[in-house]
Symmetry: C2
Subunit: 265 residues, 2 copies
Amino acid sequence: MTKASTSDIVSPSTGTLGKAIALVELVALADRPLRFTDILDRAGQPRGTLHRQLCHLVEEGLLEMNADHCYEPGLRLLKLASRAWGRSDLRRLAAPHLQALHDATGETIHLGMLRDTEIIYLDKVESRQAVRMASQIGRASPAYCTGVGKAALAALPQPRLDALLDLTEIRPFTQHTIVERQALEAEIAAIRRAGHAFDREEHEAGIRCVAAAIFDQERTFIGGVSVTGPAYRVGEEALRNWAPLVRAAANAVMEEIAARLGPKA
Amino acid sequence: MTKASTSDIVSPSTGTLGKAIALVELVALADRPLRFTDILDRAGQPRGTLHRQLCHLVEEGLLEMNADHCYEPGLRLLKLASRAWGRSDLRRLAAPHLQALHDATGETIHLGMLRDTEIIYLDKVESRQAVRMASQIGRASPAYCTGVGKAALAALPQPRLDALLDLTEIRPFTQHTIVERQALEAEIAAIRRAGHAFDREEHEAGIRCVAAAIFDQERTFIGGVSVTGPAYRVGEEALRNWAPLVRAAANAVMEEIAARLGPKA
DNA sequence: AAATTAGTTCCACTATCTGGAACTTACTTT
DNA sequence: AAAGTAAGTTCCAGATAGTGGAACTAATTT
């Protein structure tokens, strides 16, 4: 029996717990508030069972039920996540380098990690308060069509990459999204050679980005940094010019990690 | 049997789920990474049981195990919480009014909600990027010694207030923290009369704050707004001057809520 | 007012969780 | 380096808690 490493991708056999948090996710990812019956339709569980599970989740504060009988994600999630965020070593070590990269480029900087087939953004530094701060932190985007995501894919050992791509449901977000498996693998090979990844409006129309991977001592991927900007302001040339800066930032974070482990022991 | 409303305070009897997320909380709130045995000591469960539970949590991405066998909060928490945050109606409606309040005062603005005996901060607007953005979002602080918290307490019907205070473990965070139950009740009475609450360095030394409650149509408390600043810059007088502004901001949010419910039906 | 839909409760059944003990692996000490 | 000790993992009979069909109540709709 394999021990459950963070990076294994397995169909969850976690019994009760799995079902429970699948419900939380169902509610959290829905684009509108869900009533009991909405959830019943989507969850494929008998009424009685579902009802009890929802009650438990509400009692635990993972879900809440508002005035019009709709279930919504609960505040306790926020509390737990804020601790997770505050304690992340990678985030803490990377923060100054993200800021430096922002100062150098003037564009938005992201720090992301790979979780299953998705990139989850751990931190960002924004130009001015563009839209609303923190709105992207914790956001999950598919790996195969984002800068940090593709840098992550390119950083994986081939068998894990294959397994991950097999699990990924590829669909076109924009007309530039790479949807052919072969084309994607060629892109990944190119990223391996170059040491950085571009996102040319593949996830969001009008948004371009350059990203580089961060590795730990054993050369396993732990995260990625990127510079992102609107296409009207960020041309192909700007992307290419920033690539060395992004790689340098990623390297600086790696050195930081190495430095921290040295004195520690 | 009472239906489990968000605001009921009950000892959780949620079986497996309750134990599981108690573990997540244990790991998330710990001030250092915990190894298996550390958790074993604190969780009071037999080895076998605990081990399986932790495995399940890791498989679900609620916890992660790092290289040196320490458990840490998982990325999936971030993902779920970011959806919770992005979808919060209160946050969305309040945002412009927080900004306006910030423009008027120049100090840090918080929006918080009550969860059991704690205030959880849903949003904030900060002076310049003071320390690190978003660091406070999701943060939980005790109700009895914070501005928003005391405003919340004063807004509760007496029986719920009593129940809540009975559950609260009161301890002095600073030398100004109100620790006597009687003094606290007097303070709450004063807040009820005034319509706003002060925090005079009761939670953190050197930090002062004014807060006001936000109610829904039925006059039940749903959240609070506050202006917070360092004591050297924010005197008693400034606090008193801001009180009307804070109350006005809270009222503006209430009108927003009322307006949204009008056209809707 | 009747019909329909939505939400909640009940209880026999059984899948899942429990926890003691044995086992394996990774450090520590002499 | 070998023995000792602590940390982490696996196993299985027994107990608990979760399951799900059906009956019931409450809220809408016709």
